[in-house]
Symmetry: C2
DNA sequence: GAGTGGTCTAGACCACGGA
DNA sequence: CCGTGGTCTAGACCACTCA
């Protein structure tokens, strides 16, 4: 997995040393994963059968599963079941790589679905991020990123329209970075980003086939081009087990 | 809260449009928080009473609370109850600020507890991070970081001993950065970091007064000094609601 | 010592996914 | 249409926290 940090975790015990059940279940599953019996993207048994296997109830089993989900070892698809998490994608916020370049470099198979590409008035949030006055026209591009067919990120890009006339008449599927560069001569140079941990809800959860409450990594970026102009911003929700932020920086 | 991203979340409904109960409970609590009725660090009512208030069972109430915890809106202290989350600390991995400087700049009141400061043989993990051969001597410093008295991060620093003779005879409480600088002329210049999302378990959870399974932000850093020498590494577990990573970077 | 949170049981109904 | 996961009920016992 991501990083081999091992602390002495002797499980949860009460004073008398009896082990907590759901921790035992967790250990059993982790052992199966580590031993390679369970491979990435594989589906776990149905909850009822699984609970019976461990001689417990669904509630307790789900306690164990949720806990493993929180650790990023397994993930859930809404009403489809529980699956073993693949290795996370390494994401370097300091590099200009597009999602597809990033994934390909890591021998992964990326794909993208465009949910919507529209011309609209900036929302309050977009105005704040892009430093725009109210009622300014912007482009808004909503996408879902897939890795090996699994939806792992919902992304929304809000673009200052002034630098990109007729952007929406372009074919947006290949790579936006490329269109920026080739059609408009715009290249990113600087970015301001914010990363925090939340959970998926509502529409975003649905798009990622996730249950409301699934842990997520939230990334917000404000991008500047080589002329120092604020160009666009990104708002991204990543399934938390699917991403690991990694970077090298000169300190200031 | 961290960032005002609002999606149309009409709650979970089934086809007939009935709302799911725990979502209603969440909304009620969020409303109380947003309206300022509930303030940061305030304790929520006891689960049994709270459940009764919403005319439901503890299990369902806890579903709602766990979900809010995942969103970073509330947090839990093991066997003590549920509390409203304060604003997260902004953490810039690219700046040389110590935890205390960082917190103070943000008008917070930091404190630190040293769990252990020892001289030991590098573990496998430490050898990997510090690029050391087996059986090398290192310093290991375990600390808990507090904000307004609340434990929010467990940190472990493993230090190459060669650059810091007799480090442990120093008073480690003020600021390690300062000791590095004043006593040994070592200043950080470059860092390699990795950030991912997991959960707290075992000893780390205990130290943070957290229940096993509490969502957490995992940070791993490898630090180099102005001479390009690998100096030490950090392994940190932050309560996920207590931290927001924020930085500005020139892209490469 | 009372009350609280952590854990667990043994059921139930429903809507959705997939065949 | 069956089986599944999502949600929910109404209890229970225990160890721990805190007054």
């Amino acid at each position: 997995m991501t990083s081999e940090v091992v602390f002495l975790d002797d499980g949860l015990r009460d004073v008398k040393g009896r082990e907590v059940q759901y921790v035992k279940i967790k250990e059993a599953i982790v052992e199966q994963i580590d031993s390679g019996m369970l491979t990435p993207r594989q589906k776990l048994p149905a909850e009822r059968k699984f609970a019976e296997l461990f001689n417990t109830t669904r509630v307790t089993l789900r306690e164990a599963l949720s806990s493993l989900e929180a650790e990023g070892k397994i993930y859930r698809e809404d009403r489809r079941g529980w699956f073993i998490s693949p290795e996370p994608l390494l994401y370097d916020p300091m590099r200009k790589l597009s999602f597809h370049e990033m994934a390909t470099l890591q021998q992964r198979t990326p794909s993208t679905e465009v949910l919507s590409a529209t011309n609209m008035l900036a929302t309050k949030q977009a105005c704040l991020l892009l430093e725009l006055p109210p009622f300014t026209d912007v482009y808004c591009l909503e996408r879902v990123r897939y890795l090996e067919g699994r939806p792992i990120a919902y992304t929304k890009k809000v673009i200052k329209s002034e630098f990109f006339p007729q952007l929406l008449s372009c074919d947006l599927l290949p790579s936006l970075t490329e269109i920026y560069n080739k059609k408009f001569g715009v290249v990113y140079q600087k970015t301001r980003y914010k990363i925090s941990s939340t959970s998926l809800t509502g529409y975003v959860a649905q798009m990622l086939r996730a249950t409301s409450g699934t842990p997520a990594m939230f990334v917000e970026r404000i991008n500047y081009d080589t002329l120092g102009r604020l160009v666009d911003c990104d708002i991204e929700y990543w399934r938390h087990d699917a991403i690991c932020i990694e970077s090298i920086a000169e300190l200031v």
